[in-house]
Symmetry: none
Subunit: 209 residues, 4 copies
DNA sequence: AATGAATGAGAGTTCATTCAT
DNA sequence: GATGAATGAACTCTCATTCAT
């Protein structure tokens, strides 16, 4: 299962070829965005990466900002889908936090391109960051309500959790050596941040490995 | 053989004025960098913000990159000095972590402009991020060595700590309402991240308030 | 794995239009280069002269230096072709020198724009001067080897010959009145420089008129 | 005896220090002009080379063009002086041509800096070239009138002579190895150009060695 | 729809010139 | 007179966007 689903709903209802070109541009956009960031990415380079003429870009996106927007939406849709799916199978908020955390850790290890785009856009596109934060905030608020997490300010807990996961992703993406064990460290940190006592860490970790 | 006998002219100029202009440029650079990031900032805008002609910029910095470098240096120097001072007065690594954390929280509340630059540049200038991380890493390694902190991977602990503080700063900078109490929440989170048991939080917090 | 299956787009564009624009830029480049020299010529002026937007220049030449390079290549290619053609029809080195000289004299009278560029660039673009000198040097070395020319230092003979022809071109280009007779004077000077005795001048001149 | 006299009449009548600063600027101007040409030379670099502040330049020259003009004048004054001096001591036009030629050859070997400036400015400053050509033209016209030279178009003879000498200078200035013998080759070329028969070369050469 | 040449606003940088000290 | 900081016009080059084919 991959984080970014290629049958994004946005592409629905268009003739095949148009959809294919659009997908090429989306993929290229993600690649280039991941490498250069939103300020370094140029329409020319995205079109070249997509094996398409510059002008073609504008048959699919009114401006470069709209491409960023679309990529961003797709990334968020992935998170959203992950969360909805989760709601149906798991009720313990602590496990949900670990699963969500694990999704991002997986992304960094399995699909570095998307992960790079995720991290890069998170740092630079405010509305993307806000959306991600609100998704995580929902999960944490549930945990607090359920008495499972410490009663801390939710926003700060979100920030701490997201911040630490993102830093972990960044490190993973830039390191060649991915030492094992680091993953469970990050899980423990996540649990610490939301306020699950250390003595409860062990059993929870066993459920998500 | 030449007629030239006079010595090279000594710098007799206007050090006051030069220094003042440079400071205007540094301040303007921080402001603009904070708002636009290093890619969005332009020499023209920085010069305008500094109430100075475009060309004047280049009397003080060889290129726009050097201004970024100078700003990050200044930001790091501030942290560095704080840390050195700290070394002389305080030995408990936990307190040192809290003081360091508090410095950044203070920055966000007392000098939003610098804080904005700090956060923005941390996300976008690798050189700067690395330097900050190595400073924090030193403090944490000390704590682990002293048996005061949990024995986790130092790098990930650094990422988690820095990430959560930075997210806190971001929120503070964008919120109008700065509720009190948040500060001690963040302190507790910081202690959780480095692995100081919750029962020890109270006394430590009292020492840095 | 990617959805992209279509081949890289083949260059289907508008080769006609592209070639025309490029020629406009080359012509404009020659004109402006001739008037202002390589240091005085600006992309803006060349584009204006070519009735084209500034940015269009960079669709055809990566930098202003490459335009200079292209212009000098074209100028040298003209001479080179002339020489190769010559090799096949004429063996007397003295005649070859006269034909080569005549080519440049013709250039000055028939295509003043190119001639101006030739003279201007010869004085200012070392790369171009060296190429021209080596072409002329080849012809003279042949003549010396064949015992047709005086045994002088080839390099200096080249300099003298080229120098005198260029000065002749310069004068022709700045004078309104092009008196006849001057041409044969220059032919005699050329023969003197390479060391063909004066008594042999008459018959040779008759062959190239 | 050097080509460029340091007690240029222009400096007369000023207080010592002013004159000295002006001379520093003239020397620096010649050096930089020779290295970078009139388009590459900047006021900043000339001032630095003269060990003087930028602003000082404008106490002596209203604009950078006036510095070029002044350097140019000085160079021409040197030629002029050489010619006037010559008028008093030598009547044979052929010898005068050889002495003039020799002056420039000497310059290239003894004072490369001035020589470089001479060559560089000759190619790029029209009014300088015109002045030099008129001086040489005078000498050649005299020779034709006296029946000493062939009756060729004076202007073309000037161009050929100046052109060949300048090319000789250029080569000398860029070569490390200055082979002897080249000098007399150039003398012979000069005599050929003005139309002195080869059999008369020997005695004339002996008079100027 | 796709193409890619053309466009022109805007960015970084240089440098002749001015001017307060 | 000398100084060097400040100025701003001009230059090279980039790139989002338009448009004829």
């Amino acid at each position: 299962m991959t984080f970014v689903t290629s049958d994004s709903p946005i592409a629905a209802g268009y003739p095949k070829k148009r959809a294919r070109t659009r997908r090429q541009l989306m993929n290229a956009g993600m690649t280039v965005l991941a490498q250069k960031g939103p300020d370094g990415a140029t329409v020319g380079e995205i079109a070249r990466e997509a094996r398409v003429a510059t002008g073609t870009f504008y048959n699919h996106f009114p401006s470069i900002n709209d491409l960023v927007e679309a990529v961003t939406n797709e990334l968020t849709t992935g998170v959203q889908i992950g969360r909805e799916t989760l709601d149906q199978i798991e009720n313990d908020p602590a496990v949900r936090v670990l699963v969500g955390t694990g999704q991002l850790l997986d992304l960094a290890q399995d699909d570095p391109e998307s992960a790079r785009a995720f991290v890069s856009l998170l740092a630079t596109v405010p509305h993307f960051r806000d959306r991600v934060r609100s998704i995580i905030g929902g999960a944490i608020a549930d945990g607090v309500t359920a008495g499972r997490f410490a009663e801390r300010d939710v926003d700060f807990t979100v920030d701490a959790l997201l911040g630490s996961v993102v830093q972990w992703m960044r490190t993973t993406l830039s390191d060649e050596a991915n030492e094992q064990g680091a993953r469970s460290d990050q899980f423990r940190i996540a649990l610490s941040i939301v306020g699950v006592p250390a003595r409860a860490h062990g059993p929870l970790l066993r459920r998500v490995v």
